[in-house]
């Protein structure tokens, strides 16, 4: 049997490109005891992967060169030499950018069985997966919004942002999204139920964006879930209330190039803000509680999401690069089966 895999073969100089990746075909070895062969149905593409492509000091080890790109996957067990798994089981794992993965299932937590009857399999890579838990943790544990407070989230139509705003609404907050383009903004308000959504592409500078935020958040901003950084964050900071909380989840605007400065750090002092960076894989203790709530909400149709689905492994690099430019609409996936 032959596997197809995408390797990272070089590190980006500035903007990432398809040349950083290479598609290879490799034979699949026979299973050893304790191993499970998984056929991937969906591959998750996420912004954090861009940071792993760099060799810089970061929150995680860089993605090694000439190895399969990391990434979350859902699929079906094809063959098993582990008592806990049998062919046909639907599973979530970190199988990477490849069609099949051989998983050492004796390692606790590397392969989780999921219920694909109640919830679509792909949702376990989005609202009921890492992006959903990221939203849940940053909002509830770091921002800790009170009913009646105002929460702003950037990349609001994306896998993380869409959950942030809906959870904020469910907890009695005013939810303001920031997204790119009228279609995304319309989706964020009319489908996801946010109170307002600002199209950052209509605002060439932070003064303009800050004015739009002031209109959307007349009582000021109490919590900010930041996925973008740069000018968007600078504008939000201008409208933050005293004791505001900023959960720094991503700064995608600076991933490709030189770091983008924060224009007015003194606002952290004058507004007595708390700014906190986090990475969800370091807070495994919250996953069960978060996944339980998220799963129930999705199953009940109270938590909505949208997916952009690329077809075929060979299109993963292009889909990934498009996502970094905001060309996706909702959770970016690659469908492999």
């Amino acid at each position: 049997m032959t596997n197809r895999q995408i390797l990272l073969v070089s590190r980006p100089q500035g903007e990432a490109s398809v040349d950083n990746f290479k598609l290879v075909e490799t034979p699949l070895p026979l299973l050893a005891d304790g191993q499970v062969l998984v056929r991937h149905h969906y591959l998750s593409l996420d912004p954090y992967m861009r940071m792993r492509m760099n060799d810089a000091k970061s929150y995680a080890a860089p993605q090694p060169l000439n190895q399969v790109m990391i990434g979350g996957t859902v699929g079906v067990v094809v063959e098993s030499k582990h008592a806990g798994y049998k062919p046909g089981d639907t599973v979530r794992g970190m199988g990477g950018w490849q069609e099949y993965a051989i998983v050492d299932a004796t390692q606790r937590g590397v392969l989780q069985k999921v219920d694909a009857q109640r919830i679509p399999l792909s949702a376990y890579l989005g609202a009921v997966g890492m992006p959903g838990v990221t939203a849940w943790y940053g909002l509830l544990k770091l921002i800790q919004p009170q009913p009646g407070q105002t929460v702003v989230v950037s990349a609001a139509s994306g896998a993380v942002g869409s959950v942030v705003g809906q959870l904020a609404r469910l907890r009695g907050c005013r939810a303001i999204g920031i997204a790119g383009g009228p279609d995304k903004c319309h989706y964020v308000t009319s489908e996801l139920g946010f109170d307002a959504c600002i199209d950052y592409k209509q605002h060439p500078d932070e003064a303009s964006l800050a004015a739009a935020l002031k209109e959307a958040a007349p009582d000021g901003i109490d919590g900010c879930f930041e996925n973008v950084g740069g000018m968007v964050l600078d504008a939000v900071m201008l409208q933050m209330n005293a004791f505001g909380r900023i959960a720094l989840c991503g700064m995608i605007s600076g991933y490709d190039s030189r770091p983008i400065p924060m224009a007015r750090p003194q606002l952290i002092l004058t507004q007595r803000m708390r700014v906190e960076g986090f990475i969800i894989s370091e807070h495994m203790e919250v996953w069960p509680e978060a996944l339980q709530e998220l799963g129930e909400l999705v199953a009940a149709g109270r938590l909505k999401y949208r997916e952009s689905v690329a077809q075929g492994l060979e299109n993963a690099p292009q889909a990934f690069l498009g996502m970094l430019k905001g060309r996706n609409f909702g959770k970016q996936l690659v469908k492999l089966v």
Copy 2:
């Protein structure tokens, strides 16, 4: 009886100057019931006053024009129409830049009696006053250092910084100071007992300062108590460990001019830092516990401090402006009696 007062008569355009202030003589009215007349012995000069001189959105209302500059004071009761105070009592208050203050002592907390036998009166404006409590809160409540961790504090020879480092040492931490000039650095290590002190004037850029910090803190920095901001903060951030905490107490480097950007905010994300601004007057609940510890340490000679003392009210503006440029050495006071 005649009082002498210093008023703020204009707001700085860029750098503050003596022209922003005016010395006036005014007659002292007779006391009403509940009032106390205090003769000020010392006036406290503090960096936060510079921010109050601006009309900008800040953590406190701007200092009103043509009124007595605010400020902490210690002095002796001269006359009292309040049963709780009698002539000769030593007191601390917020009497402002004037030789006498008439205080409505019926307002709880505006005039605190202090023991000037055990601890020098002036210390109640420094190590056993607002600067000391500021250090105590930022270090113990925000940075929360564990024994063996490394804490860095800028303006290390100053009223706040000197207490931060000594408290960190008392809790088993490695304390690194940043100060301006060899005399201050020598004082910080040899008198205050910090493990190291870096003279920022020897480092023209952040790369150079970051290299010096790396040498002084070979295990990285776990906590930063920031009084300065700008290039100093940028350099510290380069050396922060994962889960580092930054207590933002002041950003004196940007007070006079345009805001100074933070060069690499993405480090907050990649190092999962927590950055928190605070103002000590909003945390009155910690003052009794903090003042108790600080008072005992000063009385026992285990918490050292140094004072720069200007003589006479008329020299307060010049002393204040010098302090903003780091010309003071330790807590800046004006002696009035």
